[in-house]
């Protein structure tokens, strides 16, 4: 859910500041409460000037994230590939994770090697394998963990996601649950919710194919921790809560 402009901190702080300054003017002119007036004026000016507003650096970072993923998905749209991707963890033939997007219905995962992008292993096993858009973000989070998460299980996946959410500020909170072959990931966005909504307006299939860089980092982290290919089964977004249902294949 996109926040109304006036609800954003940079605007709401100014409204609060103006209210405090108005109160201070009233206190100075109509009453003898000099200290209260001074306090109110100080709080008003402080709130207006100190509350954060997005910097050029942040805007550029968001624009960078957006432009990269949109060109990625424009290619996938033009190729008319399936709407549902599979996140592949590294294995004996693959040195780093891949997002495999089948051309049609998924009929088993073909053998994929590092140097392969376009996969053609016969009927039902055709598609493309790309580096997940969230791979650089995931690498940053993994650098903060003292051990390799690959194949270490759900707990290491949660630890890695903790670095993505709280450490890097990509999400407010998350949950990762596994029940049999079904994996459920919930991500609650905070400051990147507008970024998510803008992206979804421009490319509707983005979430089920690979996810944006933020979701893709979480999905790839889960796949690497469980050391298992994860097929995106469903995606839901309600307000700023994202829910992914995945299946081990």
């Amino acid at each position: 859910m996109r926040k109304h402009r006036l609800l954003k901190p940079e605007y709401s702080s100014k409204v609060i500041g103006v209210i405090f300054i108005s109160i201070s003017i009233y206190l100075f002119s109509m009453t003898d409460h000099t200290n209260a007036g001074l306090a109110s004026a100080f709080i008003g000016i402080f709130t207006i000037l100190i509350v954060h507003y997005p910097t050029v650096d942040e805007d550029v970072a968001v624009a960078g994230l957006k432009s990269g993923i949109l060109s990625y998905h424009n290619i996938l749209d033009d190729l008319e590939l399936s709407d549902k991707g599979v996140i592949l963890p590294p294995n004996e033939s693959l040195n780093e994770s891949r997002t495999y997007i089948p051309a049609g219905k998924l009929d088993g995962i073909p053998d994929i090697y590092d140097e392969m992008t376009i996969i053609s292993s016969g009927r039902g096993r055709t598609g493309i394998a790309l580096v997940p858009p969230g791979q650089p973000l995931l690498e940053e989070a993994k650098d903060r963990i003292e051990y390799k998460i690959e194949g270490k299980g759900i707990q290491s996946g949660r630890e890695c996601m903790g670095h993505l959410s709280k450490g890097m500020g990509l999400a407010k909170s998350f949950s990762l649950r596994k029940k049999g072959k079904r994996i459920r990931i919930r991500i609650t966005l905070e400051k990147y919710d507008d970024y998510c909504e803008n992206l979804r307006e421009k490319s509707s299939n983005i979430c089920t194919r690979s996810g944006c860089p933020i979701c893709s980092a979480f999905l790839t982290g889960a796949s690497e921790a469980l050391s298992s290919p994860l097929k995106i089964e469903s995606f839901e977004k309600e307000k700023n809560h994202i829910k992914y249902e995945l299946e081990e294949v």
Binding site: S13, D32, L38, A39, L49
Partner: protein
Amino acid sequence: MEISQKLAISITLWTVLILAVIGGQSIELFVIMILIGLLIARELSSVYIRPSIAFRLDAFIQVGIVVFIGVVMRRILSILEIL
């Protein structure tokens, strides 16, 4: 919540607390207590805040120091019975 929002809330609470304790008694003490709050906030948040916020916080502190010097000068002059 952004660190700057936390900063604004904590300074507001500090100011309200001082106002509740001092009330309308001494404007000089009130201003000095706000300055102390700003200095504590600056020191505690120095690692986390962006340079732009630090610059603005420093501007508040500089104004507070100028006021503090004024208060001290006024007090000295009154002790010396010049004012």
